[in-house]
């Protein structure tokens, strides 16, 4: 185990050096770009070696109905905390829907194998603690890529601590069942993304940047439940910049989502986020290359 860790660290350091070399310009939302690129290439390597092959095997080995059952079971378990997060975000109606979904799917849907709640018009939501903190006014903080977990930011990392710490699957006993469930869930999720990752590969000029920006946009959309405030249009259909109509300059608009929201946030959370933001702020100085 120790040896494995040392090798992993070595690999990260090596790819970190490569990451530094390709770092250009510097996005204010991504002060840890060198580190993040290293993590990204580590994750990408892991995905190519293990993630994608296993997910492809899974997709080819199991018929679609079985894969849907597996997806549904984990989606059903997730509805518990989705409901709690909706409640924390001040959306009791949505929370009731989530818990009703859990109740119906766990019973009439047979342990969550069938998503009968959706057929009944009880729509599934997507919530987590990162979104809840965002709803409370916490800004994104620096963008971070974690090994195995992938794209995140300071706020969503704090959220992940709660998501993972309270995850019913990870808390399940005995450990053997928990391990099988965890791997199965990860495989099922990766298999669902096989098409998307192929499209990403085709669409992106720089996969790292493309995925990073997509993550930021996606989170912003999720925090606002799919209806984020519309960003001002930079350029009209007549190709003329619309800056003179009062829109901010082109290079400032995209980062509007990343800038800390000026709403008040709970002091404890604020302090926690500030603590996490410290290393992020000092990182560019030490990055050097």
């Amino acid at each position: 185990m120790n040896r494995w860790l040392r090798n992993l660290l070595l690999a990260l350091l090596l790819s970190g050096a490569a990451g530094c070399a390709t770092t250009n310009g510097g996005d204010p939302r991504d002060p840890l770009e060198g580190f993040n690129r290293a993590m990204y290439s580590f994750n990408d390597g892991f995905d190519q070696a293990i993630g994608r092959p296993v997910a492809t095997l899974y997709r080819d080995a199991l018929t679609e109905p079985i894969r849907i059952w597996i997806r549904n079971v984990f989606a059903n378990i997730a509805d518990l905390w989705i409901g709690a997060n909706n409640l924390l975000q001040g959306k009791p109606k949505d929370a009731v829907v989530d818990w009703a979904r859990f109740a119906f799917n766990s019973t009439f849907g047979v342990f969550g194998l069938n998503d009968i709640a959706s057929d009944m018009g009880l729509e599934k939501h997507d919530e987590d603690f990162g979104q809840t903190f965002g709803r409370w006014g916490a800004g994104d903080g620096a963008y971070v890529v974690w090994p195995f977990l992938g794209s995140s930011n300071v706020r969503d990392t704090v959220g992940l601590v709660f998501d993972i710490g309270l995850d019913p699957v990870l808390l399940h006993e005995p450990v053997r069942v928990r391990n099988v469930m965890t791997v199965l869930r990860a495989t099922s999720r990766r298999a669902d993304l096989l098409d998307a990752s192929r499209i990403l590969e085709e669409a992106a000029l720089d996969k790292y940047v493309f995925q990073r920006d997509a993550y930021m946009q996606r989170r912003r959309s999720l925090i606002h439940d799919g209806n984020p405030p519309r960003e001002p249009r930079l350029i009209g259909a007549d190709d003329q910049p619309r800056a003179q109509r009062g829109a901010p300059p082109a290079d400032e608009t995209p980062s509007a989502a990343a800038a800390p929201v000026s709403q008040p946030s709970p002091p404890a959370l604020d302090a926690a986020l500030q603590l996490l933001e410290q290393p992020a702020a000092s990182a560019p100085a030490t990055r050097g290359g």
Binding site: D115, D126, D195, L205, D206, A214, S221, E231, D251
Partner: protein, 215 residues
């Protein structure tokens, strides 16, 4: 004699189709337009045997005839290039638009190829009849997952309503290219960006759809 007549008839028929199509589009409300085009394309996807066997060339042709006329690619490109757009001359603008269009069509064809009978929920348009810039919301429903939203930002143009951005699950295609394009222009100028896009399109043409693609 007959072939010439046949060809003329085809051209005439095409012209009529284009004309009526144009006239219809002009009157059609943006949400109705999105719904009609989506359902028409999905219908073809489900029925066409070649497409189901993985014929990408045919998917691209489908997009070019059915979907492209309703997009304003010049506006999409301008928005993706952002603040550097006005540094480009007319020829560079035209080439950027062409290359970006090719890349988007290819990405879109890849997305369509993975379509598997999902259901659509066309949301009622929340806009005043006098609005000329609207967002049309469509949701793709799938069991066990949250519905995926597709938002079309559309603007009323002389030829009918045209989309100038598409947001899938909240991710704007146009905005997502902005940083990448910005980096490219900073490193190698407008021509560098054009070159990168050309190389990208070229490599895609030769890797993913080797042989089965248009010339």
């Amino acid at each position: 004699m007959v072939p010439i007549f046949a060809r003329f008839a085809t051209i005439a028929a095409t012209a009529v189709l284009v004309l009526t199509g144009g006239a219809q589009a002009q009157e059609m409300a943006p949400d109705v337009l999105v719904k009609n085009v989506t359902l028409e394309v999905v219908d073809i996807l489900q029925k066409d045997k070649d497409i189901q066997k993985g014929d990408r060339k045919k998917v691209i042709a489908l997009i070019e005839t059915k979907v492209l006329p309703h997009f304003n690619f010049q506006a999409m490109t301008a928005s993706a290039v952002g603040r550097n757009w006005n540094k480009a001359n007319a020829e560079q603008k035209a080439r950027l638009t062409e290359e970006f269009k090719t890349l988007l069509v290819r990405t879109y064809s890849s997305a369509l190829a993975s379509y598997s009978n999902q259901k659509f929920d066309f949301r009622p348009l929340r806009a005043k009849p006098s609005d000329t810039d609207v967002t049309v919301n469509v949701r793709v429903l799938q069991t066990g997952t949250q519905p995926v939203t597709i938002d079309y930002d559309m603007e009323k143009r002389p030829g009918g309503w045209k989309a100038w951005d598409v947001r899938v699950a909240g991710i704007s295609l146009v905005a997502n290219y902005r940083t990448e394009f910005d980096n490219q222009v900073r490193e190698a100028g407008i021509d560098g960006l054009i070159k990168t896009l050309q190389t990208k399109n070229h490599s895609l043409e030769h890797s993913s759809v080797a042989g089965a693609d248009r010339k």
